[in-house]
């Protein structure tokens, strides 16, 4: 079974686990943990136990594998980009998460979490969403598993993304406005957590990235590990081994964690690309918010700042703790990219390869464009985490 093929990665980078299991206290090096209101601690612990047991259970893995294959359309292919490679002077391979059902990698984790929630006897899902990608994915899983679902979305985002709101409703979910704070993603996380505090017994909080309290950063990464497992097998057969560089965009960090996990034990350089206006890793200021100890954009007093990015999916001021660990241990590097470069990349991929990327992975391509001298002659695997359909209207206005 493809999913379970690469059960354990080896950890050649020091004695703290590098993309292996976190410590007992849910830590990757010094990052992670379970910084949640007391009411949620038993729920997180229950989830930790349930996930450990499910993930060790071949029946659960089989079920998830079948969902991945027969519902989500996995494995996603790797596309070798001849035209783009010629243009940039390095060999570019795309891991095509854009071809998954609902159009991004998000479906991997959402199917895993819904399956787990069902196994735990939960009947409801609650989720946060920014632009709506994770909300639509969660609503999708809720429809499939016949679960009630409530999605929190910032009031401002609800107005900006009315089509995704409609999608979630079509899928049978209820969308609720997060009206506090900046009324965007981080406030939706707050509201979803608050909702969870009040409904913790019947409800699973379906978190959208490798963030939040333990076991989320680990669990969500494990559900996305399929990206890396597939990609490493595909690269083995296409390239005879790992690529020189693996690049992914980083919002919370789930797609990056998924693909990095396939290559962390190889010689490949791992590069995460953040929006310049939301570079939690780039600034490297630690904090404890939304459940974990990680890097966080904040002012001198610890008040959380708003991130700013052309891409709603990267508009998050924090980042998953495992990335903080990968950055601190220097196993991965993290680079900022400007909105303008992202727009260039978005257009370049469409024009040269007939693939309109989501703005999020266009960040990763933007970095490749910018670093092309450094990358000359190398083989670069880019995680194309989602398709650009959701961004086309925005880009039409932007480029008008």
């Amino acid at each position: 079974m493809a999913v379970s093929a690469q059960e354990k990665t080896t950890h050649p980078y020091g004695n703290t686990s590098v993309m292996g299991d976190p410590s007992e206290s849910g830590r990757f090096g010094e990052f992670g943990g379970m910084f949640v209101p007391e009411t949620l601690v038993p729920a997180c612990q229950e989830l930790d136990r349930a996930f450990r047991s499910a993930w060790a259970d071949p029946v659960f893995r089989d079920e998830l594998y079948l969902l991945f294959r027969d519902y989500a359309g996995r494995p996603s292919p790797i596309t070798i980009c001849e035209n783009l490679s010629a243009e940039l002077g390095c060999r570019i391979l795309l891991k095509r998460e854009d071809l998954n059902h609902t159009g991004s990698h998000k479906i991997n984790s959402v199917l895993g979490q819904a399956l787990l929630a069902k196994r735990m006897g939960k009947t409801r899902l609650v989720a946060e969403t920014g632009a709506g990608q994770h909300g639509v994915a969660t609503a999708t899983a809720a429809a499939l598993f016949d679960m009630e679902c409530i999605v929190y979305m910032g009031e401002v985002d609800i107005r900006r993304q009315e089509l995704n709101v409609f999608r979630m409703k079509l899928l049978g979910s209820e969308v609720r406005a997060a009206q506090s704070g900046s009324q965007t993603l981080k406030d939706a996380v707050n509201e979803a957590m608050r909702h969870w505090v009040g409904a913790v017994e019947s409800t699973h909080y379906c978190l959208g990235s490798v963030m939040g309290p333990h076991p989320y950063p680990w669990m969500v990464r494990e559900f996305h590990r399929v990206i890396g497992v597939e990609a490493s097998q595909q690269c083995a057969s296409l390239l005879g081994g790992a690529p020189d560089v693996v690049v992914a965009c980083v919002g919370g960090g789930s797609n990056a964690a998924g693909i990095f996990s396939g290559f962390v034990d190889t010689e490949a350089a791992l590069v995460g690309v953040e929006p310049a206006g939301g570079a939690a890793l780039g600034r490297a200021v630690p904090g404890v918010v939304h459940g974990s100890h990680s890097y966080l954009m904040q002012d001198e007093w610890g008040q959380v700042l708003e991130a700013h990015s052309i891409s709603a999916g990267l508009d998050y001021p924090g980042v998953g703790p495992e990335h903080a660990h990968l950055a601190a241990t220097k196993r991965a590097r993290y680079e900022p990219i400007s909105d303008a470069q992202v727009v260039e990349a978005f257009q370049l991929l469409a024009r040269t390869e007939g693939i309109i990327p989501a703005l999020e992975p266009a960040h990763a391509l933007g970095w490749i464009m910018q670093a092309k001298d450094e990358l000359a002659g190398q083989t670069v695997l880019l995680n194309l985490s989602g398709r650009g359909d959701k961004d086309v209207a925005q880009m039409m206005e932007h480029l008008a």
Binding site: M34, G287, G291
Partner: protein, 263 residues
């Protein structure tokens, strides 16, 4: 060694009374410190002072709004400390804020700041038992009493561990949910109080969902007292001023006293 917070509460209990701890948002309005003082005079046994945070996940709309307003007015933790410094309040104070405020300042510096401002205790609701170590070390060194929360979702065994590590009192979370006034007292409120009482000698005060004097009296059939947050903060938001808040504190005081025939 019993801290000043615990001592003040025990004193009330020893007199056969029930403890009343109003929660007020620090930095909300220019007269917030006067409001704290007025609450003390009106019968609070201690006052919980919220330090505004951008992302208060345990709080409902009322306290969120109070946070947002105070932050929009530019309040910082340091300003709250500075005003508390040597202010004459008459009862112990305990700050309530979120982990990142303390973490960002540095746990030691944060604890030291509290001590310098003669704050007796601290509540950091998103730093649970498992994550408490570094903060507890810093707090203990400055004799800051760290109040822990015990929630309905915990096992008895967990409640016992929480109560054992708590200082000042144990904050019994009255319901599954965030702060805010409810029509009715949740059934869970008396249950959690009773469960905690069974595992600790510390005062057990119920907070979250205690919004009226009647609810306070009801929960105190099991609990040693109450923390009243959103109802108080709503008065502050309504512009009731120190007198308006004091009036509400007095109503709670009176109801609790009448229920125990205590004065």
């Amino acid at each position: 060694m019993t801290g000043v917070l615990e001592a003040a509460l025990r004193a009330r209990l020893d007199r056969g009374g029930k403890c009343l701890v109003p929660y007020l948002t620090g930095g909300l309005g220019n007269d917030w410190l006067e409001t704290v003082q007025a609450a003390a005079i009106a019968g609070a046994d201690a006052v919980e002072i919220g330090i505004p945070f951008s992302d208060p996940v345990m709080d409902g709309p009322t306290i969120q709004l109070a946070n947002d307003r105070a932050l929009a007015a530019g309040v910082t933790p340091q300003q709250v400390f500075d005003r508390l410094h040597r202010a004459d309040i008459g009862v112990p104070t305990v700050v309530m804020t979120y982990g990142n405020i303390a973490y960002r300042m540095g746990y030691q510096r944060f604890a030291a700041s509290l001590a310098r401002s003669t704050v007796a205790g601290a509540i950091l609701p998103d730093i649970p038992l498992e994550e408490l170590g570094p903060w507890a070390t810093a707090a203990d060194a400055e004799a800051i009493e760290t109040v822990l929360l015990g929630a309905p979702t915990a096992s008895d065994e967990r409640l016992a561990r929480i109560a054992q590590r708590s200082r000042g009192f144990v904050y019994a979370v009255g319901l599954l949910g965030i702060t805010g006034v409810r029509e009715q007292l949740a059934a869970s409120a008396k249950v959690i109080a009773k469960r905690l009482k069974a595992v600790t000698d510390l005062p057990v005060l119920v907070g979250v969902g205690v919004g009226t004097p009647r609810q306070a009296v009801e929960v105190c059939e099991e609990a040693d007292g109450v923390v009243v947050g959103s109802a108080m903060v709503q008065r502050m938001l309504d512009g009731a001023g120190p007198d308006g808040v004091a009036e509400l504190v007095a109503e709670f005081r009176q109801a609790l006293d009448e229920s125990t025939n205590h004065c």
